[in-house]
């Protein structure tokens, strides 16, 4: 890594109003003799009011990043280091990783809420929807009376387009889309400042996907929370996200403004990922996909982790791990970071498809 990274971090801190800063987060699966290092020193910053998209193939560590940062990673996950700084509206900074259990419980759902992947399993099958909504309200003592809690639950349910009489329903009586809406309503019940959405629409059909996405965008505009949106579908992110971070094999390989990343990918992996999905709207492209499969996290190759699948692989890629830094392209891209040797200025030539010019303003 070059020494520019810390400078960039500092610049970030000064320039914007961050709500969540993940710094050098390291996560292992397993403990003892042979743990798998699924995340090593990953850093990510989310600004207030922003929708940050986190994309990558399954197994790339995007969910691990989100759950690690909130300490919700199930065993055998272990956090091996890093900081997760949450900055509240009042400007108070807390490191989620150093909170004690009690404070963490208090912060959860009030400061940051999560919409889990697969709403099928996220709802407790033996309790009514209402009970589960009110549970969250009561745990944080936000409402004094039972009636107020119920009113609040009914309110958020209607907010996501579900009739309030569904409070009495059990999860198995709801359709997949309804359950996902319930989960979104549940996440918003305490008006958190940060919402983490883990593949919130993956299990749904395209029509439902679209409805839910529109709802999320709409709710964000009304309530003003910040979002980390995790998905494997990059074209989806372009619709909702302000900024996109692409992950590959436990590392962030490219981060950029959503439109920039979509129209002008710089990392070969980003490009491959974009070509694997049909765009939700706009002109059709030829779908290509990426040959090969991600490396085994237990046996990572030296050098660039994408080298084995990269169409532009060079000798250096096999030995040197590229750092996430600005591109050496002759255009100003302050919003963009890429971890690729093609862009560090030493490569003789950057392939044309990774060096598309932005239109002049």
């Amino acid at each position: 890594m070059t020494t520019t990274a810390p400078a960039l971090t500092n610049a970030t801190l000064q320039a914007a109003d961050p709500i969540l800063e993940i710094k050098n987060l390291s996560v292992d699966y397993g403990f003892g003799d042979d743990p798998t290092h699924v995340l090593q020193d990953v850093s990510l910053t989310l600004n207030r009011g922003e929708v940050l998209g986190l994309a990558g193939e399954s197994g790339c560590g995007k969910s691990t990043l989100a759950y690690g940062a909130t300490r919700l990673l199930p065993p055998p996950g272990v956090i091996r280091g890093g900081e997760v700084i949450f900055t509240g509206r009042d400007g108070v900074k807390t490191d989620i990783l150093t909170l004690n259990d009690k404070d963490l419980r208090t912060a959860r759902w009030r400061d940051f809420a999560i919409v889990f992947q697969g709403a099928m399993n996220s709802l407790n099958p033996v309790h009514r929807v209402g009970t589960q909504l009110i549970d969250a309200i009561k745990a944080h003592g936000k409402t004094a009376t039972k009636q107020e809690a119920r009113d609040r639950a009914a309110y958020v349910l209607e907010m996501v387009g579900i009739n309030a009489d569904r409070l009495k329903a059990y999860p198995h009586q709801l359709s997949g889309g309804m359950r996902q809406r319930v989960m979104i309503a549940m996440a918003l019940v305490l008006e958190p400042e940060l919402l983490i959405m883990d593949e919130p629409t993956t299990a749904l059909d395209v029509v439902m996907q679209r409805q839910i996405l529109e709802e999320i965008t709409d709710l964000r505009d009304r309530l003003g929370f910040s979002v980390i949106f995790i998905t494997h579908d990059v074209s989806l992110l372009v619709e909702v996200a302000d900024r996109i971070a692409i992950m590959y094999a436990g590392e962030i390989v490219e981060a950029a403004d959503a439109k920039d990343a979509y129209l002008r990918p710089r990392h070969p992996y980003t490009r491959g990922l974009l070509n694997s999905f049909p765009p939700l709207r706009g002109p059709r492209r030829e779908l290509q996909g990426i040959p090969g499969s991600p490396p085994d996290m237990a046996k990572l190759p030296s050098g660039c982790r994408f080298a084995d699948r990269c169409p532009f692989v060079m000798d250096r890629c096999r030995t040197e791990d590229p750092a996430l830094s600005r591109t050496a392209l002759k255009m100003s891209e302050p919003e963009r970071l890429v971890a690729c040797h093609l862009h560090d200025g030493k490569a003789s030539e950057v392939p044309a498809e990774l060096a598309i010019q932005a239109p002049q303003k």
Binding site: L72, W109, F116, N124, D135
Partner: protein, 326 residues
Amino acid sequence: MRFFIRRGIFYIVTAWAAVTLNFFLPRMMPGDPVSSLIIKSGGQISPDAINSLKVLFGLDNGQSLWEQYTSYWNQLFHGDLGLSFAFFPTPVSSVIQQSLPWTVGLVGIATILSVILGTTVGTLIGWRRGTKADAVLPVATFFSAVPYFWFGLIAILLFAVTWDFFPASKGYQPGLIPAWNWEFISSVLWHGILPALTIVVSSISGWILGMRNMMVTVSSEDYVTVAQAKGLKERRVMVSYAARNAVLPQISSFALALGFIVGGTLVMEMVFSYPGIGFVLYQAVTASDYPLMQGCFLVITLAILVANMMADVVYAFLDPRTRQEG
């Protein structure tokens, strides 16, 4: 509703199967127990009783198997299970009637206690893994590997012979007349403690291990993580989200394991000479009292069916998915 209809059909078929099995059992046995009894009784046995026994054992050679079967059912519906040889000439039904309350009291209370305690302990150690409480597991494994009756023997040796804390046998002080007075009731309680404790100790480990495993499995369900993410109190997550779901298979396994448990506790009655149905069965076996054996088997099976039905109701009460049609 479909759940209950299905279960209802199952119970009817099982009851029919048990009765039919009971009908065929003596017909497959060698020898003619009835004739030897008639000879032994020296003419004191009434013709009616002989006839009833003949129906029971299929000795009425003039009848076809089907006729025998129908008259057997007919007898059953009149509550006639034949005469006991061991307690001659008491009818089997009265012998069972006297012993059943003892078993239901002892085995019922001890089993329910064991289930509740075991499930609670299993919940705790399944939830908090890697604590010192895990030391319970090897102990529970040992206890669950030992036959109930051997525990009974050890309990008697320790707490009745070596230290004279509890009586070693019988359901109440010999010489007392059963009645609803304090003297009798306290004697019953006093005699019940050791067998009840032994049943609890020997059966509890199964519930601990079962619940612990289910807690481990359920703990990794998403809804438990969601509950933690919501910042609920630890207790609320453990009880209302994890244990509440983990207990469902525990109930179905209770219903299915009941046959095993009741078998084991019946032997416990034999060890303690407790006047329940297990001890009666033991006496019947020693005296080759076939009608009594069959009666015991039938009543025990029906009792287990009733317990299963209760477990079904509890299950349906706890799991909203079964209550739904479809």
